[in-house]
Amino acid sequence: MLDNNQLLRFTTAGSVDDGKSTLIGRLLYDSKSIFEDQLEAITNTSKKKGHEGVDLALFTDGLKDEREQGITIDVAYRYFTTPKRKFIIADTPGHIQYTRNMVTGASTANAAIILVDARHGVIEQTKRHSFIASLLQIPHIIVCINKMDLVDYAEDAYNKVINQFEEFSSKLLVQDIRFIPISALNGDNVVNRSETMSWYQGAPLLHTLETMHISSDINKVDARFPVQTVIRPQSETHRDYRGYAGRVASGIFRVGDEVTVMPSGFTSKIKTIDTLDKTLDQAYAPMSISMTLEDDIDISRGDMIVRSNNKPESAQDIEVMLCWLNNSPAKPRAKYSIRHTSNEQKAMIKEVVYKINVDSLDRNTEDKDLKMNDISKVKIRTTKPLMIDSYRENRTTGSIILVDDTTNETVAAGMIV
């Protein structure tokens, strides 16, 4: 691998029937990311189950319960590397009762692969997956029109799906959509170019993943630095050192930049940007660094350092697209802990504005319950201000989770509107 190779995270959503597991198995197998002992294990299992040949889908089976039931329940992470990139796959189930798992897998993805069965075209599940990808602002969507072998590799079938998809996707906010006709089972256009679909001029899936431009996926404009912890060595060599440790959420910070600490509003200048290896002139997302300032200011975890000429909004009343993740529904007017970057406050859901039907994208203003897998627009009031950006502009400073203090569980995830 080369030193400048990047990491690309993508998500796949799908159910047993649309060939998702086969596609992942095919990607791993054809890119030679499967080890011989793994192959041996699934060859044996395939035989035991009476399958013809090796069932590539078995690579993605994880927990005992999942193997028994033959479905993916949770998000599973898979890894493979090619000479061009390292990939992390967040493999998620596709049924509506696992919407929360799809949302989880999508939250960190650069790209989403949406599988469409060429025989059936765009169905409810396609719309659901596309909506979630757009809601979570995954920058790149690749629609794989699968099972082309079952429609005689016909260009018509492919075009029909594209038309159907474009018809409904005009309602979604996605920057980059591509379409690839594939057969995961036979390997057409997955890693290797299909010989049977010469009418398709585009690149196979892997090549697309290897070359798509992802450097611009992170916001480079709005400099945001949530403070995770304060480093005070109090050692002889660093007696007065006071470093603010964190990961740059977005934008670029340079030594000498005039910065404002929020929420206090104090201003100072960046004195040094430190790492163990060297001191830096600048730091950009997503680097983990420690920063010192010219002035002695009281700063602690939960504060955010930003460039003085570009500040986030400080708000206590926020509108959020909320996905409910927990078995227990939301309790009316209950208080939750809200977590936003390194900040934690208390919050109350003041109002449910509407709930979205994730299959039709219709809004329901009557149903105010927040149950597991529901996606709703809500109004939240926090006890103290949060320093927010809209999720569309900033996936890090635009996202929140809610924690139920009676169980300590993460019950909801939200994207700030």
């Binding site: 080890f35 927990l63 005992k64 975890r301």
Partner: protein, 301 residues
């Protein structure tokens, strides 16, 4: 024009540092689980980076089965001295002597499963609320579903079907008295990433990882090192081979591969060409298809 993106190793490093700082910020009394293997050495190296110029602000904890490679213990003691941090040792031998666990019987007996009790006892008696481990999701299918912040109930057990969702980079380490967390900063690293990074950073690792001459016995399709704990079968023969270890566990269960790789450069090249997973030589994982998941549910690393 300068580039404003990180390469994959820098991004993995930054992610791990972020997790380590979150652990420090969210927990009262964390430790790094240190086995002397490359993954826990890597986590320790990353912790050094996370808190620089301060020292690592929490102890290292070693669950000592008593069946160690002598080289591992020497390495552990050196690194502790170098970092100037505290070492906590949980002893499996003591757990046996106290009657908390019973030694396995038979030829392939190991102390692998016994570690669970010792680990949980050490966590409880030292009031540890987060144990940071070097587990990676690519190692094993049960680990593919592990969270960065992984909740354990007050019996130390993992419930894989009832894990907290983890979204974006927001981690929830809230817990009740008596419960603890496991944190896995290098979840997203593969074996190859680990070696490429060790090579790049020139991180010191035990000599066992490099090809060396050693007395070994061919057993269960791998070279098991000769040691005071090894009981030879009649047909087995001790031979000297040039081998290296791909992972380090107990001396009784860790098989070596014949190899000439005696530099980090050569090891990275060798690993890149490997056609078997690294845990393939670990007899603890060969016991059943869900061996790892079963142990993890009970509280294993």
């Amino acid at each position: 024009m300068s580039k404003y993106y990180l390469n994959y190793l820098d991004e993995l490093e930054s992610e791990a540092i972020y997790i380590l700082r979150e652990v420090w910020a969210q927990f009262e009394n964390p430790v790094i689980l240190f086995s002397g293997g490359k993954d826990s050495i890597l986590v320790t190296h990353l912790a050094k980076k996370a808190f620089y110029p301060a020292k690592i602000p929490f102890p290292l904890m070693h669950v000592d089965t008593g069946h160690n490679f002598p080289e591992t213990i020497q390495f552990r003691d050196d690194i502790i001295k170098d970092l100037g941090v505290q070492l906590i040792v949980g002893s499996v031998q003591e757990s046996i002597d106290d009657g908390r666990v019973a030694e396995e019987k038979g030829k392939n007996a190991t102390r692998n499963a016994l570690q669970i009790t010792t680990l949980l006892d050490a966590i409880e008696s030292n009031k540890i609320d987060c144990a940071i481990g070097g587990g990676r999701r690519d190692e094993e299918k049960a680990r593919a579903k592990e969270r960065f912040f992984s909740h354990r109930d007050d019996f130390g057990q993992w419930d894989p079907k009832n894990q907290r969702p983890e979204l974006w980079n927001i981690f929830n380490g809230k817990h009740f008295e008596g419960e603890h967390f496991r944190a896995f900063p290098i979840s997203n690293w593969t074996e190859m990433d680990v070696w490429n990074y060790i090579k790049r950073e020139n991180i010191a690792i035990p000599s066992l990882y490099f090809a060396h001459e050693r007395e070994v016995v061919w057993r269960q399709d791998t070279w098991i090192p000769n040691s005071e704990f090894l009981v030879l079968e009649d047909h087995e023969e001790v031979v000297v081979k040039k081998i290296r270890f791909r992972t380090l566990g107990d001396i009784t269960i860790t098989g070596g591969d014949e190899s000439d790789a005696d530099t980090l450069e050569k090891i990275a090249t060798e690993v890149a060409g490997m056609r078997n997973t690294e845990r393939g030589n670990r007899s603890d994982d060969k016991r059943s298809e869900s061996a790892m998941e079963d142990r993890k549910r009970q509280g294993y690393f």
